[in-house]
Structure formats: structure tokens, C-alpha cells
Symmetry: C2
Subunit: 330 residues, 2 copies
């Protein structure tokens, strides 16, 4: 009885990524993990599907990175340090070995970079699109997970990085001719597309978020809708100003050419930036930590009252409304 | 900003299943879990895909149960007690709400039955088949996971339940006319099909496996191939006798009508029975525990030497060979 094709596939592409002792070299059905004493494990799963979350012709290396990064972003938002992940990979029977090799290479590089080793998983064939379900684990001191429900009236609302790049990058992937309409130079167009291709999770800020934020989440379905979710979980009303939302030069160029694209920026999703609420006294230390980590962070508004909604004010101070405030699969 | 369709979908179908405090009512991006002091978490993921692991016309209630049970079976084999699970569900945009309701109902019933609550997860739309990735967590005393690599020369090889029912049940689903060829009565045909539709994970035996087995795994890809995996992980050679492999009355009827189907029985997979190796002195207490748990357990052979292979002997004592000893997706 020899090794099956599946055994060889796992051994060739994924065993090199499984150096954690709890992974048993991927020779077992299961993995073992224990948080340090006095710590919790934070659990999150965020699958990506070809044709939904990435393109069939995306470089497989980038797909491997994205599969892990969208989950690392959740850990960062919760204030957790990465501890490892499981991978459930479903691929067509006739998958190109070069694709798998590229995928495993990108995944392994980011597992190393973010200190998040492969612990185990499963491989299947599917008659459908490539589907990659990473389940990631993080650790933090017991009871210290930063939830969505801690925002308090008077808190400030902050976001990391810039908003809207990935949503416009996705638009450019689908409609390359928009680059001309928006008068983007090659570098700007590349910037937007790369932000869709490869999220930049803010794990460098996870510890500071845990120390200083009252509530946090990562922005994956659009700033407007995700802030709404945070408000509903916290029972508060937040008001943010569209003009304060940080945008890149490329996004600013798009908005100059087509102001209506502000809606895409605010509701389009795939930002993988952190959205958090912060009490008055915690802003300065959070800013300092962000500066040390090399991550920009911008105040965009306040938690104004109890309630269940997020309001985005336009330049004239009027509430904006969107037919579809956040990306929703269903 | 109102709740999205996805938010309502989750609230309606899955929030009722998420009663563990670490699930935060599914209002957060992540869940929290901590094993009791001095315990490890065992992690496992085993997705099921429509058209691969279940049929589109299977009752959705059974699909929900199967999605969890194939993972519970892994926990049982490792000697772990269920602690909870994450669910990554990908469904077509036009999914029938009645399907989701049935799925959630079966899933919730088994989560309750096996003491394995929903902790969190993710919902996506897919252009492909329904894909359900459960990641399950179990607990056990630190360092006590039963791995595949502990089999020792002289150990006895045992399996729970009966082997081959599910593989023949799958065959009957695909080729209903075989029921006539095999002269099965309605009850026998139903037995085989039900064993494919709905695995019976042996979690009642998890504690005994941990106490008494030197190595264990659940049989999901076929007895022959899975025993081969255990042998390679342990560096041993095992010899089992085909005539000792426990079969149900329905499987015995099939084998009487078509003896060549022994190959399906031994290599077909989807058994979700436990395969374990047990030292001489541990057999009696394991048998007692199995009897108390109401799970049958049968000795089928021995670990005979160091090596890397499993040998199945036919009635004449000759090694059998199979072109495809285990189910393999790749």
C-alpha cells in the first residue's frame, strides 16, 4: 500500500510549511495548540473563492498570501498575536502543479513573515472554483479580545491606512478602461490594483489596538457598512465626516475625475484596514504606537450618542445615504 | 445604514446555534476559546462539498449533521472531547431558504447532541457547489492527543463498528439497480445508504481511545489506505485478515452475491469508524469501555514488525493488493 496522490501532494507542497510541533508534520488527522497560561485563543475563518475574492489569473503566490492575510487582519483587529492556521484547500482535479507550487510559496512566505505557521488542514477536489478556507488562531491575555461591542459615547473613531484603494482596484481589474477616464498614471493604477490583489493586514498594530481601543474590527465589507455593524453591536450612533476619511493619491485622483466614486470608496470593501473607537485619553498613546509601527492612523469622527447607526456626513454636513452600504454576499 | 442581507441570514439561521459565550452571538469577527488549565486544544478541519461528499438531493438536515460529524469523528480518534466549531459556508446566490433552514436545523441538533457549539464562522456566495468547511475544536489533557505515530510492534489492531457500509451505500446511490443484483431487501439497501448519508462518529469512545490506544485515526478514506497511513506514521508493518474485518448483514449479503466487492469494502472510505492499535494489556479495558459505550469493537490483526506498510491477508493467508488502496482526491 503506497502513499496516495493526496499524501504526496500534501508532503510536497505543504509539509515544508508545517514546522510547528503541534502540526505533527501533517502526518496526523488533527493538530494541537495550547495558548500560554492565562491566555485565550482567538478563532477566525475567512475563506476566499476564485471568481469571488480573487481572479483566476491572479499570481498564485498572491492568492496564497491573500488567503492568510484576510484572516491575519481579523486577528489584528481583535488585538491578538498570530499563533497558527489550518488550511482547507479545494481545487479542481486538473489543477496545474505550478499553481499549487506558487500558492504554497506565497502562503509559506507570509506564514513565516507574520509568525503564523501552518498547523494542519485538508485537501479536496471540487467541481467548482478553487476555494481556500483558512482558519487562523491568535493568542491574547484572557478576556482581552477587543470586540465590536465596546464603543462608548464620546469615543473617537479612527481608521488605519487609506480607504477605498482596493474597491477601486477591483473596479480597474474589471474595467481597465476606467484608468483612462480617471486620468490615472501607471503607478496610480498599479497602486489600486495591488491593494486589491494583496491586503496589508495591520498586525503590527494589534497590541496597541488591544491596549487602547474600546472596540475594533477590520474593514472588509466597506467602511460605511462595517461601521454600522460596530455601532449596532455597541448600541451607539457614530458620525464620521467623508472629507476626513484618509485616501491615497490614486483615490484622490479618481475622486477628482469622478466625484460620485466616493460611494465606492466608502462602501466597496476589501480595505483590510482597522476601524476602531478610542476614548479621549487613549488617542495619544495609540497615535504614538502607530507611528512606531509605521502605520498611519486617522481620526474620522466620533461616537455621538446611544443608538444603532453610523452616519457619514458630506462636505456640507448632510448625512449621506447609500443604497448598498456594505458588501454583502447574500 | 441597515443590516445587510448577510447579517440577517446569519442572525436568522445561525445565531440560535451560537450559545457559547465565546461566540459573542456571532456579532463579532472572531470567537474566543480557552482550553481548561493543563489542557490542549485539538484542531481539525474536514470540509464537505456538494457533488463530492454529499448529493444535491440529500436532505439538508442530514448535510448539516454530516458537516459536523466528519469533524467530530476526527476529534474522537484523537481522544478529544468536543469544545466547539467554526462554520465557513459557501452557497449559491439563489440558495433555497428552506435548504438553509434544514441545514441549520440538523447542524444545531448535532451541535447540541455532541456538546459542540457553534463559535463563529463566515458566509459567502459561490458560483460553484455548496461548500461547507467546519473547523472543530476538542480538548484533552496536555500532551495526551492520540496520534497516528504511536503504534508498536506487538500491538493489536482494532476497529469500531462495521466497515464498508458507506462505500456500498454510495455505490447504491449512484447505481440503484445494484440492489437487485445483490438481492438486498429494502432494509439492507436503506442501511447501506443511511451509513453514507449520515456518519455515526464514535465520540462515546474518545476517552477510552485516549486511555488505551497507542495510535488511532478515523477511517475516512478506506481501511486499507488509512491503515497504511498509520503504519507509515508509526514506522511499522501491520497485518490484518480480511475475514476478521467486521461487516454488517447488508455488506455480508453484497459479498455473498459479488465477492469482488470486498475491494470496495476495504478501500471505499466514508466509514468514520475508529482504527486503533492497542497494547496487549490494554485490550480488555478498551473492550469493557466499548461495551459500556454501546460501540462494537473488533480485533482484525497485529502490528508485526517495523516497516512502513499495511498488509491485508485473504482467506488463504495471501497478501491482497489493490490498484487504489484508499480514496484520494488528487
Amino acid at each position: 500500500m503506497n502513499e496516495s496522490g493526496e499524501d504526496r501532494f500534501i508532503a510536497r507542497y505543504f509539509r515544508p510549511l508545517a514546522r510547528h510541533p503541534g502540526a505533527f508534520g501533517l502526518l496526523d488527522d488533527a493538530a494541537v495548540l495550547a495558548p500560554p497560561q492565562g491566555h485565550d485563543l482567538v478563532l477566525t475563518t475567512d475563506p476566499i473563492i476564485c471568481g469571488v475574492h480573487f481572479f483566476a489569473d491572479d499570481p498564485p503566490d498572491a492568492v496564497g498570501r491573500k488567503a492568510l492575510r484576510v484572516n491575519l487582519s481579523d486577528l489584528a483587529a481583535k488585538g491578538a498575536a498570530p499563533a497558527g492556521f489550518l488550511l482547507a484547500l479545494a481545487v479542481p482535479q486538473d489543477i496545474d502543479p505550478a499553481w499549487v507550487e506558487g500558492f504554497a510559496s506565497g502562503l509559506g512566505a507570509d506564514a513565516e513573515r507574520y509568525g503564523c505557521p501552518l498547523l494542519g488542514g485538508d485537501t479536496d477536489c471540487t467541481p467548482g472554483p478553487i476555494t481556500i478556507a483558512v482558519t487562523a488562531f491568535g493568542t491574547l491575555p484572557r478576556g482581552r479580545m477587543v470586540s465590536r461591542n465596546g464603543a462608548k459615547v464620546g469615543d473617537h473613531v479612527l481608521v488605519t491606512g487609506t480607504i477605498g484603494d482596493a474597491a477601486l482596484g477591483l473596479d480597474l481589474r474589471r474595467s481597465p478602461e476606467n484608468a483612462g477616464r480617471w486620468r490615472l498614471n501607471a503607478e496610480q493604477a498599479e497602486h489600486l490594483k495591488s491593494r486589491y490583489l494583496l491586503p496589508q493586514p495591520r498586525n503590527a498594530l494589534a497590541h496597541a489596538v488591544r491596549e487602547h481601543a474600546s472596540a475594533a474590527m477590520d474593514i472588509s465589507d466597506g467602511l460605511a457598512g462595517d461601521l454600522g455593524k460596530l455601532c449596532r453591536a455597541s448600541g451607539v450612533r457614530a458620525e464620521i465626516e467623508a472629507r476626513r476619511v484618509p485616501v491615497s493619491g490614486a483615490v484622490a485622483a479618481v475622486l477628482a475625475a469622478e466625484p460620485a466614486r466616493l460611494e465606492t470608496v466608502l462602501t466597496g470593501g476589501d480595505d483590510y484596514e482597522l476601524l476602531c473607537t478610542v476614548g479621549e485619553g487613549e488617542i495619544a498613546p495609540l497615535r504614538n504606537a502607530a507611528e512606531s509601527a509605521g502605520v498611519s492612523i486617522t481620526e474620522i469622527g466620533r461616537v455621538t450618542a446611544t443608538g444603532r447607526e453610523a452616519v457619514i456626513l458630506d462636505v456640507a454636513g448632510r448625512p449621506m445615504s447609500f443604497p448598498r452600504p456594505s458588501f454583502s454576499h447574500l
